[in-house]
């Protein structure tokens, strides 16, 4: 073999050994890392859906206003129990981000179990009231927004929250249908 090539071969061999070693250790640690990350997400989801951490979690990318879907399924039967949507909508001067948890009742009824405004940059004292406001949507059907109670004086910010609910309601049936 060419003498000049030999050092290169040594480097290559060492590189390969290192690569294999890393792949092996990665295969051990990756599931633990994933479980830890899931647990943090589940803990934060528990704020909008009580008992979220007792289900299996799968994540799906959304489309349009819906950023992400957190699908909770029963650990034994595998049935989809609830979907928590991470949704956004434009408010008065910022983007409002929300989590909305929807539970399956039957194939034509889906109930809102909880929601939370996770981030917003609306006018302080007016639009930012949406964070703690009760929009009267808990236990309401997601497809029926008649109970929706806007924050008085904060039309645009409330409108963003309403848009979030509407974005969820248009796709909820197909999401549950598709998941089951």
């Amino acid at each position: 073999m060419n003498k000049n090539l030999l050092p290169g071969v040594v480097l290559l061999v060492i590189g390969l050994i290192c690569g294999v070693l890393l792949a092996f250790i990665n295969s051990i640690t990756a599931p633990i890392i994933k479980a830890n990350a899931d647990k943090i997400i589940l803990d934060s989801l528990a704020e909008v859906y009580i008992g979220a951490s007792s289900y299996n979690l799968t994540e799906e990318e959304g489309t349009g206003n819906v950023d992400k879907l957190f699908i909770l399924s029963d650990k034994t039967s595998g049935d989809t129990v609830a979907i928590i949507y991470s949704v956004k909508a434009e408010g008065y001067q910022s983007t409002v981000n929300m989590l909305i948890a929807v539970e399956f009742v039957n194939s034509s009824e889906y109930i809102v179990k909880g929601y939370k405004v996770v981030s917003q940059g609306e006018t302080s004292g007016i639009g930012d009231k949406i964070v703690n406001h009760d929009f009267k949507m808990v236990n309401a059907s997601i497809t029926n927004l008649s109970t929706f109670d806007a924050v008085s004086g904060a039309t645009f910010s409330s409108g963003a929250v309403r848009t979030c609910f509407e974005s969820v309601s248009t796709r909820v049936a197909s999401d549950f249908g598709g998941a089951q």
């Binding site: 050092p7 040594v10 290192c18 640690t29 890392i33």
Partner: protein, 226 residues
């Protein structure tokens, strides 16, 4: 040089941080708490001892040493980067809080000059056992240096030092807040900011330089008298 001297030179005479001023980036960035400093120290210890061992094993055979010579720097880098990635993955899996607070400075151990420096200056010319002892001494010296910087920063900046688990029921704590209250001042938040990092490091180096100067002066006068 015997094994004891070999070990202790890394802690005092050739302390990597305070004497040769190597590996300064993490020493300023992660010394906001004693806990971080210890975590970083352990990570560096693991990487430095093992990289010294592996590199001295690779070069212990003169034939092998000659063979590796043209590509030795890439070989060192690959070995070190592998060890660092292992540390990163293990921390990410088992000590998530520490992983998050050390952040990008865990993978950056790769370019910590101490490790490449010891590989080139010591491990490649010495026996495996000596190299491991050298690595241990250097890593412990580095850890102690990190701990002393973070000790002052956390104490002055937060008023209390917590080790192992702010969340646990009875963490080990050194609480100076009552003293701060007695004097009537708040903890000096500035010490947790970048400013405090530079200031603390600068003053520690100055104090060490003052001690060294005094020793040198004393020795000089002794020589004169003799």
């Amino acid at each position: 040089m015997n094994q004891k001297q070999n070990f202790f030179k890394g802690i005092i005479k050739e302390n990597p941080l305070f004497v040769t001023v190597l590996g300064t980036c993490p020493s300023l960035a992660i010394t906001t708490s004693l806990e971080n400093a210890i975590g970083m120290g352990i990570a560096v210890f693991f990487v430095l001892v093992l990289s010294n061992l592996i590199i001295s094993l690779l070069t212990v055979n003169p034939k092998m040493k000659e063979l590796v010579k043209p590509v030795r720097i890439p070989v060192y880098i690959v070995v070190i980067a592998t060890l660092v990635t292992i540390v990163e993955m293990v921390l990410h899996a088992f000590l998530v809080d520490l992983y998050n607070s050390l952040g990008v400075f865990i993978p950056l151990i790769v370019v910590n000059c101490i490790i490449l420096g010891r590989a080139e200056a010591f491990a490649s010319d010495n026996k495996p056992v000596d190299s491991v002892v050298d690595g241990m001494g250097m890593a412990i010296g580095y850890t102690l240096a990190l701990m002393s910087i973070s000790f002052f920063r956390e104490l002055l900046g937060r008023g209390l030092i917590t080790v192992w688990g702010e969340k646990s029921a009875n963490p080990i704590q050194l609480n100076l807040l009552p003293i701060f209250e007695f004097i009537g001042i708040e903890p000096i938040n500035m010490f947790l900011k970048p400013v405090g990092a530079f200031l603390t490091f600068g003053f520690i180096l100055a104090v060490l330089a003052a001690i060294a100067n005094k020793k040198a002066a004393k020795m000089a006068s002794e020589v004169k008298q003799a």
